[in-house]
């Protein structure tokens, strides 16, 4: 089979629906779970095939598939991957697989729907990463909302899960408006320049655009993606969702930073002149978010909220990196985004395991867990170290690239990033001290069980990857190198 010509991406996008169909037809929870698992495994293998057959030397898009979709609007079903997006495919597939395994035994009602929705979410998320037609991208972007709405609203662990689901959806719809607007402006601009509408990302990249129009498009795209990322002041949905949503969904949301990916993929390349001159707005937004969220994280007493704020702070650093516009920061950004799918989600899943055991992740209900749960403690500690950028974990190369890149652009912002890193470490370690270390005060904690084989196997894969990428960062950097250089070369200073 020739991978280069085989419509691999379409297959990846549509295969989960086969699983969904099977789950819908078969009326047995046990079999449905196994079907979901098998589908996720096949998806992972398929995305890995795409990743390994990807030629990193090519700067442009490969695996491009083009079908007619809406001829009247000249919108196509256009898919493709490049060095920036290709690694996100296995990352999302792996994360979905982990999520399915993590929710294996703890979804008791409507289990079939739950697993079906997870598969649908996987499909549309992969669509976001691969779509090269702006309308198609927008379709996938908005299509992530219904599954998440139901996943939060139906299986949330907080009392206000329905409100949280609504809040999330409204925020995202609000973010979608400027995006759609920007896409329309881009398409009409193409029409005025060449005489016909076009939504193709590849064509829009070549379309000349007036400076003031570029600025409008840039700001609209930044606004739209900032809500999803999330950047301050649009971040308030994430702590709410982290508290109310099922932890595996929070893990998915925190692991896959679609907003930051959108900034990287669309906002900067589509308005290259405006981006080069107004990147400081984004940089400032990122720096404020980074320090602001890290400071707030210091005061959190609930693990899930703490992780939410730390995640926001990390997004701040990533966005600051994107806006720094140099190769080091850019490679660091992609690396760090991939790290999130391993680290942030790993920590959140561990929070979920705690929630299942004790019914709470609140600091005052915990304490001294290290004595009774050594494995849990070790895993949590390892993920935390990766999260604060300790050497030998993948957090370190990503963070050092980001910080050096940011310093190259602006020294002051680099110092701010370093301060944020100290605060983040302080927040996480203080929480570890309160929950895992110290003496056991509550009786119920003494009778708890450590991580079961299913649980530590689920988390063992991300841990292994974190260590491998930490020791050999060049594996990832080589893949993203040419795409990053090409990305930079497009910006007009």
């Amino acid at each position: 089979m020739n991978v280069a010509t085989f419509p691999m991406l379409s297959l990846i996008l549509f295969f989960p629906f086969v699983g969904v169909l099977a789950i819908a037809v078969i009326n047995s929870v046990e079999i449905a779970k196994k079907i979901a698992l098998m589908t996720a495994i096949i998806e992972l293998i398929a995305t890995l095939i795409v990743t390994f057959s990807f030629d990193a030397e090519v700067a442009g898009f490969s695996q491009v598939e083009r079908y007619r979709w809406i001829p009247n609007l000249n919108a196509e079903f256009l898919l493709g991957v490049d060095g920036i997006s290709v690694l996100f495919l296995p990352a999302s597939a792996l994360l979905t697989l982990i999520t399915i395994l993590a929710s294996w035994n703890n979804v008791n009602h409507l289990s079939r729907l739950h697993f079906a929705l997870l598969l649908i979410l996987e499909s549309v998320t992969l669509g976001v990463f691969t779509a090269l037609d702006m309308l198609l991208f927008f379709l996938f972007w908005e299509a992530t909302l219904p599954p998440i709405f139901f996943l939060i609203g139906l299986w949330g662990i907080g009392a206000q899960r329905r409100e949280a689901a609504l809040k999330y959806t409204l925020f995202m719809l609000f973010g979608g408006v400027p995006l759609l607007f920007a896409i329309i402006v881009l398409a009409t601009n193409h029409a005025t320049q060449t005489g016909e509408l076009s939504f193709s990302f590849l064509q829009l990249l070549q379309t000349p655009m007036a400076d003031n129009l570029q600025l409008i498009v840039f700001l609209l795209l930044v606004l739209g993606f900032a809500v999803k990322a999330p950047l301050a002041p649009f971040h308030t949905w994430l702590p709410t969702v982290a508290m109310q949503a099922p932890t595996q969904i929070s893990a998915l949301l925190m692991g896959l930073k679609l907003g930051a990916f959108g900034l990287l993929r669309f906002a900067f390349p589509l308005a290259p002149h405006a981006a080069a001159h107004h990147a400081w707005i984004v940089a400032l937004l990122g720096a404020v978010t980074l320090v602001y969220a890290a400071l707030i994280a210091l005061k959190q007493t609930n693990l899930r909220e703490l992780l939410a704020y730390l995640s926001i702070s990390h997004v701040g650093l990533v966005v600051l990196g994107i806006a720094s516009l140099n190769e080091q920061s850019l490679q660091g950004v992609i690396f760090q985004l991939l790290n999130f799918s391993l680290i942030a989600s790993g920590l959140m899943l561990l929070a979920g395991f705690m929630q299942q055991r004790f019914g709470s992740t609140e600091l005052i209900h915990l304490g001294g867990l290290a004595k009774v749960m050594p494995k849990m403690t070790a895993f949590f500690f390892l993920f935390s170290l990766a999260s604060i950028g300790m050497p030998l974990t993948s957090g370190f190369p990503a963070e050092i690239l980001l910080i050096i890149g940011v310093m190259k652009n602006h020294l002051g912002l680099g110092i701010a990033a370093l301060c944020g890193a100290i605060l983040g470490a302080a927040a996480l370690l203080t929480f570890i001290r309160g929950s895992f270390l110290g003496a056991i005060i509550y009786e119920n904690l003494k009778q708890t069980s450590d991580l079961r084989p299913r649980e530590w196997l689920v988390l063992g894969v991300p841990i292994l990857l974190v260590i491998i990428f930490g020791l050999f960062p060049q594996i990832i950097l080589d893949t993203t190198k040419h795409a990053a250089q090409f990305w930079l070369s497009r910006l007009i200073f």
């Binding site: 308030t236 707030i296 080091q328 370190f396 370690l429 203080t430 960062p473 060049q474 950097l477």
Partner: protein, 520 residues
């Protein structure tokens, strides 16, 4: 021969991962497997020690090259971070000395830690620390040194918190680790600046390239590294963390804070020696900080009543002197001082637990005569000059307060401004409501509005919806006939009274005044 340098940090790392993984999965656990763990750790560090000595021997007889380049760890554009090791000179000598000390302490700990609950954990951390420390000393690249630096700090955290069920131990560990993060940030900033201004991340090249650097740049770059050195070697104002670190088991105190890790800061100064030659201000700062630390630690040390505290303040004092020597440029003296101090202090701290037995019949030494006379000064010294409460007051408290304020702002102001929707379908909470819904009655009429929202955005949406709804039902649905005329008349009356009021001279004067204020 020189290729063997790679194995010096690698062997203890392998031992550490072996012990760590097997202990995590309970293969190595309890007293039975103590022998395996102890052997593993001992052989690993012993082998490293032999390698380091062999390498030192070949270096003494035949001159090795300066560095060995193993390969590239990371390469982005012109940022190239190589895995390279010193195979010559002071670094190798220090590696040999440290590995001997590490071996002695590891061997000592086998008996000392026997039947302790965390036996395997202790040897895991100790092996990891050995690897980190040897990496720190041998790496000829800033990032490599930093990797060792960070991991050593992490090990220090793990061993201070060795008795993790004790409140003070965990508190101290966390505090020490976060203090050390400040130095780490300085180190990263130094690496970044070195790369930006010198285009290189290797120690030797950085030194060679330092010449064209402007004075300010050299000062700033050197200051970042010096900050890292101050923190790691517990110089003022970071000295208090060292006393907190004494919480760990004695062998770890000996190796971390008595002899090996504490000298990492001084070693860092050796590495940036060429840079310091261009940064006279930072050199002066190093000398002054060293001097004050020496005085501070000596005075405080005189009033300490337990053996480990007084030893650690003595260490602090000697380190102050080392910094003073480095700041003044007496590098050769500092080298000898460092090696001698490391050896003596390791011995002293290892024998500290049995010291009380050894000196059982000796008379108690009186407090220093000067201090005994000046009681106020004595109190100052006893309280360690309130250095730690002071830093809490100046740095930690304001940050905590700011964090509290921001947290309040985020939760109560920003969240409301951004809005969060009220439940769309209100849950039925009482039987009466259920009945009510069944018969289709709506008793509580205040909830008949369809859209509900909270927060700024939510409320605005709700109000807009309400107004439009009202408008539609009153004007469009009921027809323009009755209500519209009524409301129109009422509106007309209100407008008329407004106009009458505005035409009164005092309001007119007020408006003119406001306009003038705005205009000028």
């Amino acid at each position: 021969m020189k290729n063997l340098v790679v194995f010096i940090p690698l062997i203890p790392l392998l031992a550490a991962s072996y012990i760590g993984v097997l202990h995590l999965f309970s293969v190595l656990d309890g007293e039975k497997s103590e022998r395996i763990t102890a052997r593993m750790a001992n052989y690993a560090i012993g082998l490293s020690c032999l390698l380091a000595l062999a390498l030192l021997g070949t270096d003494l007889f035949s001159q090795n090259n300066d560095v060995l380049i193993v390969g590239e760890w990371l390469n982005v554009n012109d940022l190239s971070i190589q895995l390279r090791f010193f195979t010559h000179g002071f670094s190798l000598k220090l590696a040999a000395l440290f590995s001997i000390l590490l071996f002695i302490v590891t061997r000592f700990a086998v008996n000392y830690m026997h039947r302790e609950a965390g036996f395997h954990r202790f040897f895991f951390v100790l092996s990891l620390f050995s690897a980190a420390m040897l990496m720190l000393v041998l790496s000829a690249n800033t990032v490599g040194t930093f990797i060792g630096w960070e991991i050593a700090g992490l090990c220090s955290y793990l061993l201070i918190g060795y008795m993790y069920d004790r409140q003070t131990a965990t508190q101290n560990a966390t505090r020490v680790f976060i203090t050390n993060r400040i130095g780490d940030a300085g180190f990263v900033a130094g690496i970044g600046l070195g790369y930006l201004w010198l285009g290189n991340t290797n120690w030797l090249e950085m030194g060679e390239l330092a010449n064209p650097l402007s004075n300010q740049q050299a000062e700033l770059c050197a200051f970042c590294f010096a900050l890292a050195a101050f923190v790691k070697s517990a110089q003022l104002p970071f000295t208090p963390w060292l006393a907190r670190a004494m919480e760990g088991p004695t062998p770890s105190s000996a190796i971390f804070y008595g002899s090996v890790m504490i000298h990492a800061g001084v070693y860092l100064l050796f590495l940036i020696q060429p840079l310091l030659a261009h940064a006279p201000l930072v050199s002066m700062l190093i000398a002054i900080v060293g001097l004050f630390t020496a005085i501070y630690a000596t005075v405080v040390g005189l009033t300490q009543t337990d053996i480990k505290s007084s030893l650690i303040f003595a260490t602090s004092g000697q380190l102050g002197l080392l910094f003073l020597e480095c700041g003044l440029g007496f590098w050769e003296l500092a080298i000898w001082h460092l090696c001698a101090h490391a050896t003596v202090r390791a011995y002293q701290l290892l024998t500290a637990p049995s010291l009380l037995v050894n000196v059982a019949n000796n008379p108690i030494k009186p407090v220093n005569a000067y201090l005994a006379k000046n009681t106020r000064f004595y109190t100052y010294a006893l309280q360690r000059f309130w250095l730690e409460p002071l830093t809490d007051l100046i740095i930690v408290k304001p940050i905590q307060n700011l964090a509290s304020d921001l947290n309040y702002f985020d939760r109560h102001i920003l969240d409301n401004l951004m809005g969060s929707p009220a439940p769309a379908i209100r849950a039925i909470s009482s039987l009466a409501q259920a009945k009510e819904q069944q018969i289709g009655a709506h008793l509580n009429n205040n909830e008949n509005s369809f859209a509900q929202g909270s927060g700024f955005a939510g409320k605005i949406t709700q109000w807009t919806a309400d107004i439009l709804d009202w408008f539609e039902s009153r004007f469009i649905l009921r027809g323009v006939s009755k209500d519209a005329i009524d409301y129109g008349k009422r509106l007309g009356r209100i407008c008329q009274s407004c106009e009458l009021m505005l035409l009164k001279p005092r309001y007119l004067a007020l408006f003119v005044f406001i306009t003038l204020l705005v205009a000028f």
